[in-house]
Amino acid sequence: METCTPGVVHPRKLWLALVGIAFMMLAVSFPALAALGGDVNSVQEDQAHMKGSLQIHPAAAYSVHEITTSTRTVVREYVSPEGKVFGVAWQGPFVPDMQQLLGTSFQQYAAAVQANRDTHARRKPLNIQEPGLVVQTSGHVRAYSGRAYIPEMVPQGVSAETIR
């Protein structure tokens, strides 16, 4: 579980918050973009689509926007200082709407899932590792977890393992 320490406001966080507010103000003029690979305003699109509640956890090199859906599934979207969603993670009893969540990466995901049909592996975790997209899933029915990120967009100094 990602946590953040409240109380101390770093200048970087303040800057991030200002960027965030600026993006929110601009949101109305942006086209409807989906989440992964999209701009930070797409987080609000996802929140609206998932009928969820949103919490924002700023961190040094990125911020985490956490949406809790009406079905208790938690979706975390990882946003770079440039306001780009470079990773998403989910956990809960229902799979979130992958088309909404993966945005422009959805077609690549769907193609990779269709191609990943080893007859030896039947019910097993998904592990897609391609240029431009990593998707890993785990769990079982009514307890799904997974993450997706665009390796090329992960900010320098941030480990992909933090996307969870």
């Binding site: 579980m1 998932m50 009928k51 859906t69 009406s70 079905t71 208790r72 993670a89 956990q91 009893p93 229902f94 799979v95 709407d97 992958m98 088309q99 959805f106 077609q107 995901y109 769907a110 899932v113 269709q114 990943n116 049909r117 080893d118 007859t119 030896h120 592996a121 039947r122 019910r123 097993k124 975790p125 998904l126 592990n127 890993q136 899933t137 785990s138 769990g139 079982h140 029915v141 009514r142 307890a143 799904y144 977890s145 997974g146 993450r147 992909a160 393992e161 969870r164």
Partner: protein
């Protein structure tokens, strides 16, 4: 792909225009003819063989068959030149159907045959009507009621010998005598056939139960119906139209303690089951998503389900089929693979006997009785589907949760299952085991010395730790996973990247929410080598699971089917009563 389709379309249009209507000048058109060639009349329950002859087809590719109306075309014997039409066992009035053969080389060349299915003026029904569960030495008195005739019925029994006899036969009554000694469970069918009209029949199913076997269902790791499924446990179930002896036994059903509910391919079912109605209108449809991105879709249809000496009456069953009049909602498919067919599923169905009573509940919380963006229940009409609320009673239900007490059980064996297999190191062609219903309810299902591991109420998971320094709180035991799947530094296989090829002895510690702890020793073998054996049961099969190293929520060790080898693994069902002194269900014990 799209540009190719456009090219093909334009190309074929040019061809059509150039040839003035479909057949190139100077080429004799393909024609299809059928034998019999003229309209036929057959009795209800009868069959009719049809042969197609295709003329002027240089490709010799034959025909495809289509039926419009009641009955079915026998897919077992269907070829590109012949088919057998099976009329329904009974129709209420004379009904005409059409069988059409379409040339595969030229789909504009077709031939049709009209078949009238004659309703019988004589109908037979039996009392009792539902399948009977009988132990050795038992008897069943059966009465036939015949409408439209006074001459009565002839009685027959199948199998003809070994599983009981008929005695005291009259034109309307008979007594079934079970053998004095029964050593293994068996299904017996008794048929009453009208003396006046032999196409009018009625059947009664007898489930013959051996001593101590009322709650024992054989299961086997045998590769499944396509003999290609590694580490999958399969069984058979008997399903019936509710309240009747219209029954069918379906084999090749995957035993899955990691999901809930009975799901069967519609293509394997030849009973007239009826879908439930959805609260939002239309028929009730279900979608289940698996972690590998695959999904199953189909209607929810109640059936009576029989296994060993147990019965689950009016169980909502997920009948798997792609819709024909609308498309599967994208909130269900989500780019995943559709497994509504035997090839993709590798099974004829899945029997989910996990920790919950239904597939939309977790530890008492029902996610589907309030409007929400759950993506498993839809109300569908020909114009499409919308997400619907569903009462618990209509949800796809764990068959064990509905088991009621009957004459051969000591009580209700409805609080869970035990899976038992002999131990296995390395590979074996097949491995036979048992699924025992109930925990502490019969003489053969006591908890004994097994340790109980309770689970986190939010996700029905426990913690696996002390493996390569990782703590994995979303871990679980799941017979439906076909290996041990866990995050590790182990080397994945060059041929099968979903599995490990490191040969390793390892151990990990399972910790229940009740702080029960136990070390599990396990072995991983080279999966590429295992698969080359051509066997189907592997004690040492493992593969990766998410990112490594993994610590914290969402990290899981998936104790799949090999974990069950050499153990009795108990899975109790939330909300059911467990043996006194034990924590409230759900939990695992082993």
């Amino acid at each position: 792909m799209r540009s190719f389709l456009v090219f093909a379309l334009v190309g074929s249009l040019v061809w059509l225009v150039g040839c003035g209507g479909g057949t190139p000048v100077g080429v004799t058109p393909i024609t299809v003819s059928l034998t019999p060639s003229s309209a036929q009349t057959i009795n209800q329950g009868a069959t009719l063989g049809i042969v197609a002859t295709v003329a002027n087809d240089p490709t010799g590719s034959g025909v495809s068959w289509n039926l419009s109306g009641v009955g079915s075309l026998n897919t077992q014997t269907e070829t590109t030149s012949s088919v057998t039409y099976d009329a329904p066992s009974s129709v209420t009035s004379n009904t005409t159907v059409t069988v059409t053969a379409t040339s595969i080389a030229d789909t504009s060349a077709t031939a049709s045959l009209q078949i009238t299915v004659q309703a019988s003026s004589v109908t037979v029904s039996l009392t009792p009507s539902k399948p009977q569960i009988v132990s050795q030495g038992g008897t069943v008195s059966i009465t036939a009621s015949v409408k439209g005739d006074t001459t009565g019925v002839n009685w027959s029994i199948s199998p003809a010998s070994g599983d009981g006899t008929l005695k005291s036969e009259t034109a309307t009554t008979v007594t079934y005598d079970a053998p004095a000694s029964v050593t293994s469970n068996a299904v017996v069918t008794i048929t009453a056939t009208s003396k006046k009209n032999t196409s009018s029949t009625a059947q009664l199913v007898i489930n013959l139960v051996a001593p101590g076997q009322s709650n024992v269902q054989p299961i086997a790791v045998d590769g499944g119906p396509l003999t290609n499924y590694p580490d999958g446990a399969f069984t058979s179930v008997t399903i019936c139209v509710p309240g009747t002896s219209q029954c069918q036994t379906i084999e090749g059903i995957l035993v899955d303690t990691g999901s809930v509910g009975l799901r069967i391919l519609a293509s394997e079912i030849n009973l007239p089951l009826q879908p439930l109605a959805a609260a939002s209108g239309g028929t009730l449809n279900n979608c289940v998503s698996f972690v590998d991105g695959s999904f199953l879709w189909g209607e929810v249809e109640p059936a009576d389900v029989y296994m060993a000496g147990e019965v689950s009456s009016e169980l909502p069953v997920h009948v798997l089929a792609d819709p024909t009049t609308f498309t599967i909602p994208t909130t269900c498919s989500m780019g995943g693979t559709d497994e509504d067919n035997q090839t993709a599923l590798g099974a004829n169905g899945i029997i989910g006997v996990g920790m919950e009573p239904t597939d939309c509940t977790i530890q008492g919380q029902n996610f589907c009785n309030v409007p929400s963006n759950q993506n498993i229940y839809y109300g569908c009409t020909s114009s499409g589907c919308e997400i619907t609320t569903v009462p618990i009673a209509d949800q796809v239900t764990n068959p064990v949760d509905l088991f009621a007490a009957n004459s051969v059980t000591s009580g209700e064996d409805n609080n869970g299952v035990i899976l038992q297999f002999p131990s296995l190191s390395g590979a074996a062609a097949t491995l036979d085991g048992s699924m025992i219903f109930g925990i502490g309810t019969e003489s053969n299902n006591a908890l004994g010395g097994a340790t109980v591991y309770t689970v986190d109420p939010s996700d029905d998971d426990f913690t696996t730790e002390n493996f390569e320094g990782q703590t994995m709180p979303s871990s679980f035991i799941d017979s439906g996973s076909n290996g041990f799947f866990f995050p590790s530094s182990f080397i994945v296989c060059p041929d099968n990247a979903d599995f490990y090829c490191d040969a390793q002895n390892a151990s990990a510690t399972n910790v229940g929410a009740n702080n029960a702890q136990g070390i599990v020793d396990f072995t991983i073998a080279n999966a590429d080598d295992l698969f080359k054996t051509g066997d189907f049961a592997y004690g040492d099969l493992g593969g990766p699971n998410g990112t490594y190293p993994c610590n914290g929520t969402g990290c899981s060790f998936d104790w799949g089917l090999p974990f069950f080898f050499g153990r009795s693994v108990y899975t109790s069902i939330d909300g059911q009563t467990v043996p006194s002194g034990q924590p409230a269900a759900p939990w695992w014990a082993y």
